[in-house]
Symmetry: D2
């Protein structure tokens, strides 16, 4: 017996016949470069979690196969002309089922920062903005040994939200004061000419969308939908006229945390009319309220079919 034949403790029978829902690794960080036709490659530093289920007859998974599968899939991606991160996750869950012959379900999630380039709104200065992207995939093996893959892609983006309720009460206050020395018609003209205060803050919108196995969505479209759902985008580099523009525009477009979710919903329905009714989506907004230490929160979980029915009705 050679020193290299190490005991396989994992293949032993466990004392207790309990199957496990998921077993694996969390927090595996990887540098990933995605080639794109005629565009600059995308650089990602995503963190992977990767799991399989474990039958009641097996003491442990062969844990090292999970980081190994992640490495392999990433190495192979280098040869692809272009690959979406959710498709890479789909490849990974299929590889996990190959490597863990005892498993019937594999799951993975990759999260990382995605840098986008943009211009400041008035001065047109070049700037980089940071968004978070997330991709998930699940593979299940049915009784015939056929493998079904589900994949999801999502993003989280920071923007600015202005509270409509506080602004209304500020306008009402000002109106009362103005009526003391101006007539109603002039007051209305004044109100149209002024940008009234409210509280405003960093908001974080996010979408996580299920896509079909052979379909890809461009994550930058999701980022745009999220960004456009708030009172205004933010920007890392703002000269004074840019700052003025953002503050003015944001206050002309005040939104509740609930409105952000509604705006993201209509953005998704418009952009993804090709996705099936069965696609699940999670739409979420968190506002880091400037008047509180706590946050405001709103969320919608539904299938695209349910959303279409709620918004467009039974046509």
């Amino acid at each position: 017996m050679s020193i290299c034949e190490f005991p396989d403790t994992q293949d032993k029978q466990p004392d207790m016949p309990l199957s496990l829902t998921k077993v694996g690794v969390t927090g595996v960080k990887k540098l990933l470069k995605i080639k794109r036709d005629e565009k600059r490659p995308i650089i990602l530093l995503p963190t992977f979690d990767a799991y399989v289920d474990l039958p009641s007859t097996q003491k442990g998974v062969h844990m090292s196969r999970n980081p190994e599968a992640i490495s392999e899939i990433i190495d192979e991606a280098v040869n692809e002309p272009e690959i979406h991160i959710e498709t890479l996750c789909a490849h990974l869950v299929k590889r996990l089922l190959e490597k863990h012959e005892y498993a019937t379900r594999a799951e993975t999630e990759a999260r990382g920062e995605y840098i986008i380039n943009k211009l400041s709104p008035v001065s047109n200065k070049k700037t980089q903005e940071t968004t978070q992207i997330i991709a998930r995939a699940v593979a299940t093996k049915d009784d015939n040994g056929d493998i079904h893959v589900q994949k999801m892609i999502g993003a989280e983006v920071i923007g600015m939200t202005v509270c409509p309720c506080a602004q209304e009460s500020i306008i009402k206050d000002s109106k009362e004061k103005l009526l003391e020395f101006l007539d109603e018609e002039t007051v209305e003209k004044v109100i149209d000419s002024v940008t009234f205060a409210s509280h405003n803050q960093r908001g974080r919108g996010s979408i996580l969308l299920e896509v079909s196995e052979n379909q890809d969505v461009n994550v930058e479209d999701l980022i745009n939908i999220i960004q456009d759902s708030m009172s205004s985008p933010v920007c890392e580099l703002l000269k004074r006229p840019d700052e003025n523009r953002i503050v003015t525009n944001a206050h002309k477009n005040p939104v509740f945390v609930e409105d952000c979710v509604r705006n993201m919903t209509s953005g998704i329905l418009e952009k993804y009319s090709n996705l099936p009714d069965s696609s699940m989506v999670t739409i979420k907004q968190v506002n880091e309220e400037s008047i509180h230490q706590h946050n405001a929160f709103a969320q919608k979980n539904a299938s695209l079919g349910q959303l279409r029915k709620e918004i467009y009705g039974d046509e």
Copy 2:
């Protein structure tokens, strides 16, 4: 119209007929003192999230009612002879449905640190250990206006885990070397006398358990079940003989991340034979591997009924 009659922007009709899954506040921190018969009161600094659903006919929730409900419930708890945190959460979701007359579902979660007192294992020095506790409740209003409440209580505890697989390979190596100058019988006696190395690390076990509305479980029982599922408890104050005892005991009791989940499962089934088959439970272990930067992870999600069937069979 007086200045105090502020406009109610939230009650307006939204532009888009979309109901929302949950709307509310996250990150509301509270100081909470729970009286207990003949024991020292429990001090908690929990952080609350609290949500309701929103019908498609309402533009926004009245957000301030959520921190208000949290404040009221905590003020009222002061008058209780003793109250469990999950019951406090159950009171809170019922209050939320009262305050938001348009809502049909309310949900809350409270998380915080729970300090326990214990003694070091050999020197019997007094020490404090920090655990995390979590409580959740959901209230749903059915078509008859009846309210149904679901509540959950959980904990997360840090302990020490020793890898059985690495230890087996270390024993095998040593055995080969010992057989070069000792006979097999003596080698077996040597192996029984020696504490062999492995890698070991901080593990974090957690349980989240559904309990019936009129039932309470003692969260310290959950903490004990989690602590006993790892190779050894940890301790903030260890003199040299304590440290020796913990390292020795842990290495006599090596466990995989999967074993921790199995041990917690059997601990739950033994302790909570009175809880119904329908109670859902999430059992999770994360090991902060000392040989990797990533973590090992195992999880079981099931009802107590499913667990009983898997472990005890169809009796």
Copy 3:
């Protein structure tokens, strides 16, 4: 030789004659109850770091003496009629020097949340606000064996800041539009009647102040100084008239990140005229800008003597 006589590896001579600046423990969490005359006790859950220096002749510190010293000091504090957290830290560093006879310098820091009760500004609803407090102490043994103790107390508080620069440009815009249909005098009256928009956000002000060994400052005074230095305090529970009041007041009091530091400075100089010129202070403000993903930052490090000279001149 009994099994309880464990080897003292730490007392050995190291291979390399290198003294160490500080050696100890970080992240020791404790529950601490501080009695106060005629007031409710203060509950804290602070996290302690505690270090000593190590001479070049000693391989290691006796690490367990640090959590032991923390436990002892906290147990003894229970018998005090009232004790400030920075004084507790001062006791701790002296105890550390007693326990580590080879050390000439001991250092500790305690950080934790401090909950204050307050009322919402208009509706007078009771609410709890979370602040962070920090205490530090350093003890040094001089060549005669005399021990000198330095202690510091500080706090970090969240408030709301409104940008003066963006507001000025918004006012300028509005003025230009108003002058198209109103005369200059009326425009000035309009401007006085209106609350103009700006960007506003969560700010975090903090002060860390050195106090004499036999002096105590009330940390709630520091909290008030910080809170009053921003455009407005925040509040966890705000009914509509409260929200209106806070937004209005904040926009009447716009401040740069630099102004917050100036305001805290003048607050400190007024309140602590009794503290010596040699007291060091760090004054810091971080604004979580609502128009950017990054934060704005300002800091002043100086002795009270330097501050007095800068502000009041050489009188």
Copy 4:
């Protein structure tokens, strides 16, 4: 007066003649690609803080010049054949002094993950490991207008540490048991053949080193020095023989938290004999103890000159 001439609120005189130590931005994230001769480019996603001092005569800094300077320096770096991150920081502080003509001191810090490729120790599998790097620079303008730049480069690396003290007590225990049935000489041979248990854990070593303005150090050298100072490197991908090798080697090389600092110190002195005595260095080790919830900590702050004197004596 055109709408583009925005008011310059920052240039106003403040109400209070207080100079500020540093004012600027924190948390500016950038994607950065560094070309290298004949090697793969380095990809970094660093986060920048950038500050200047503010004289008592100026109300505020022109904050947008800081993210603008960061953008410019990074854009210009694309044209460099190869640039070290600390040199990029040095360029940045000089640019900050140009842009803020009222400032006499500028400071920056960049932190980010740095991915290194390596092979697992026995199976030679390719793997990626994540380290943290940090760079700092400070520029000061003297009375003649001459600018002096100080720059620092550092890294933080995760490794495995085995406690020598617990291992010694475990060996002592085993020895006593072995002496019951074996003679002393055989017991010594047994001890040489066995890998004894201890507690072991993730350790985080870090070095921050001042370098001369025209000198560059290779950050990978720092990473190697840190990695080699612990009981063993960790590795994201370990097959069973790799795991055995790492556990065995680590237990043959037990180190206290203090030893790690000593080992890093001697590594630095050997590698950087060319750096001047005046170079300051901070050397730090944090062990995430597997037997406690708290961490063990050791630190040395000194100049290279002081270190050389302590270790080599006055030669």
